[in-house]
Symmetry: D2
């Protein structure tokens, strides 16, 4: 047991760590209703109280189980099982991060970085997890605020699990930004944009943009320029407790994206501030999980010679 919350400690003492288990399905995807029902029944047999998110339960017409809103689930569940891909997990993580709840991801297709339990073996794997056979990882999130018109009071707040991306829009015109870290000027940059990624996000968009992989336990964020005009602009990894500030200098058309799922239009003069969130997501991994095995498989790296 590595969960640090009081809830987890109590559960642990009671030898019944995951009493209430919630199920969250991929948004608007009918084909996972089968696995959800199977999983709900399996969990009941194991003696768990089962909750299904309202959205999933209603849309799929799954009767016979209690349903709850995602924010309420955060308060009452000990474990949340997400059925879908990494995109679904990102969505759920941004909301559940405020609660001390463990999360595990089940994937119907090709396994993801965050959803690494296969639907084909889910009852077996989840059975082991319920029995305490797992490791847990704490993944931190990013808090973002945007200031406008020189006003220190932010006009916008967001949270991201993977990354905050400040980038050009549809016109294709590059944007000009100034970057500051802990108040120190770093550089002016003319580019398609800038990715600020957590270790979790370092294997997502940041990697495509040429960034390094940051091990999940590294207390770091990485700034990855997207197609920078200055060829020597390279990714910079900084302490996760640094404050990163991106000042939009010139932009006909500029956006901030959060996990590629939320978006804000930016204007010249906007200041985007990114800090490590105090919240972390507790991700459970099946026994024998290896981060490097996952990387190797997904990136076609060489197996043992």
């Amino acid at each position: 047991m590595k969960l640090s919350s009081a809830k987890a400690i109590i559960s642990s003492i009671m030898h019944f760590p995951f009493k209430t288990v919630a199920l969250v399905g991929k948004y608007n995807t009918q084909e996972i209703s089968g696995p959800i029902v199977r999983l709900a029944e399996f969990l009941e047999q194991k003696g768990c109280k089962v909750l299904i998110t309202v959205q999933t339960a209603d849309r799929m017409g799954i009767p016979g189980f209690d349903s709850a809103r995602l924010v309420d689930i955060g308060n009452v569940a000990d474990l949340v099982i997400v059925l879908g891909g990494d995109g679904t997990m990102l969505n759920v993580a941004r909301i559940l991060a405020e609660y001390d709840v463990a999360v595990v991801g089940v994937n119907q297709g090709r396994l993801g970085f965050l959803t690494d339990v296969s639907v084909d073996t889910m009852t077996e794997t989840l059975g082991e997890i319920l029995d305490g056979e797992y490791t847990s990882e704490n993944r931190f999130l990013l808090d973002v605020s945007v200031e406008r018109d020189g006003d220190n009071e932010p006009v916008f707040h967001a949270r991201a699990f993977n990354d905050v991306v400040v980038s050009k829009g549809a016109t294709g015109r590059l944007i000009e930004t100034e970057v500051f870290i802990d108040g120190q000027f770093v550089y002016s940059q003319r580019s398609d944009g800038l990715v600020i990624a957590s270790p979790t996000g370092s294997t997502a968009y940041a990697l495509s943009a040429g960034g390094p992989i940051l091990h999940p336990t590294l207390e770091a964020m990485v700034l990855v320029p997207i197609c920078p005009h200055t060829l020597s602009n390279r990714p910079i990894a900084v302490n996760s407790h640094a404050e990163i500030e991106v000042l939009v200098i010139r932009a006909d058309d500029c956006n901030a994206n959060f996990d590629g799922q939320r978006r804000l239009e930016l204007k010249a003069g906007d200041r985007v501030r990114v800090r490590r969130s105090t919240h972390t997501l507790t991700l459970l991994r099946p026994r024998g999980h290896s981060y490097y095995d996952m990387l190797r498989q997904k990136l076609h790296w060489g197996e043992k010679l």
Copy 2:
């Protein structure tokens, strides 16, 4: 004399190559009116007939010289002098490429790849060019057509000097494309987009996206993926006579950009075909011009040890 057109040959025989010289100023930039007047007077003294583009003449209120539209200039001028940056030259080049007219670029600020005569020394340098002291380069353009709804008749035509870019729009969602070269399937790509650049464009956006530099005389185009999801997707240089086809498979929000100056919204199913244009631009270079000197200076490469 390396100009191959009949007009050029006649001029050459007459020992008076650049009888009619046209001046094109950067759009909407008042500060170049001084240099334009100085240049016009200098050219008249040298015995040239001087034309100023209508737009430049009218907007800047330059009286005393004949003015003409850019397309008419193409028909009657022997030489066009462009005052502005590389952006102005791109704009002019796409139109003038249809005519056998030589072009030279004068720059007020930091010299560009295409505008390498400094405004400070322009009369001296242009005097030498008028006296035949120059080399000329033929730069080819790209012709683009876009087919929609499975119809072979294109719905859109464009020309580009630097590059054709198929890329994601404001939502930040990556796009999915299939690429074919000369009808052969190359790959499916999930990415921010794809740059197809001429040698001229290889030192522009394509370079920022990680592409190689193609020497201007190389009969090649280069495909440079922008932040591709598959990390082994690398730039591919192909023969300039190849036909490149980009089929948009999935895109919420996708655009084609031409030299970063014109834009077309694309839909899933659109086919963007890129071919070498039969037109080339004849770019005059001052005596002693070196492509590598220019690269070295602009990219901060090492001087002789």
Copy 3:
């Protein structure tokens, strides 16, 4: 029939293109003796005169077929079948390039860029090739000369099919070079070295060093810096008819490598000149061969969506 040589034309007229076929096996590899015997017998049945290189025949103890040295094979054979990997092909290609002989590669393991006939289906595929069902590609080679002590008379000559690499040696100290193209100074470079690759070599070491892929039909060479100290040093593709000159300025320990198979120690002051060889290798491809299919498979690129 695309072979351009007189020998090929005559063969073509006679409707018997590949009368004499030679077999070359991978050096020192016992396990290909079986396939060689099978292939020799198959070729005899097809009415070909079969030759086996002396080295292969003697070492493997293959009796019953005529043997000849590789240089003699170049003179008398119409087709050379290479059994081995791309490395074997490189070795053979540098020697056979002087003769008008077609070459095809058979591979026992994972197919290579140059050896793309599988040993499992070789008789069927080669039968089709003997019947004229193939396409042919002309791949050019690189000629290298090295001048020393300011003497214009070269002290060394070599040929390369893939690449010429000037690089640091065992001490790990970076080297300093000056690069010239067609006599024009390009840059000084402090780096681990420089790869000069043909289109054939662009998918070999040059690709690992960050170079672009050059389509085999492109008349180009590419210069790819290896770990350059100046981060803006990017690959440059130039016309295949350019002369590339690398002047070693400072090097405790520096080498030139040719296809990674031959090596010369270099000293400060050495000038390495690389030019397109007048020789080309004629590589036969089975019907249906696609360069892009091969790239896609070897680089794990995305298949059709």
Copy 4:
């Protein structure tokens, strides 16, 4: 005062932090004898006891000051001033890291990442430092051990400040390695080699090989593959407390380099283990020093717009 050692605390209490100051000159460089004498006299005027390394004192014939060996200097000096470039600093750092001594670097030429006091302003700057006007950075070192023939007892030990590089030698043949982090298998790699860099080393060779910049305060090491055969092998940043193990699988010719200054020939089967050293170097920075200013200047990044 940020020095954490007892010696520093005592000095601090006594309001005389740098009582004994040692001077170390670049090896074998006559031209720094002038600055060294000037600096020694300045320090004496400021009331410091001055020591000069034996090597520097003897070779340059600097009389009138006490001299001592570098290891003894570590024991008695409160501050060591290094005159030379970053290379000299690396050499000194590996030795002095075992002692609680602060170090500052003076550079005669272009300022380095570690030697950022200019010889032209050194007395002024060092005067301020002696007066307590400075910030200090703790930079960690890497400890390396090499095991051979399956024996757990290492046959070799080394220390590195910048990086440990396992790489191919003069033959130019790529090497095959297996990499493990904290005992977990990461990948097999065919490449020119692998750089394992500290944050300090991330702006040195690792950067040329395509690695990210790690901020000096980041508790991380980065693994950067050199020209990997597998194109998706990307830099990985891991916790500085991880143990990195490189197993040499196949290598005709392979070396380990430490800061590019020490070298060991490796054989197939050798295991190179890299761990964070318990030692750190205390680097003093003049008031107003900014890491990002330094990066910006050295990498030609954009100034404020």
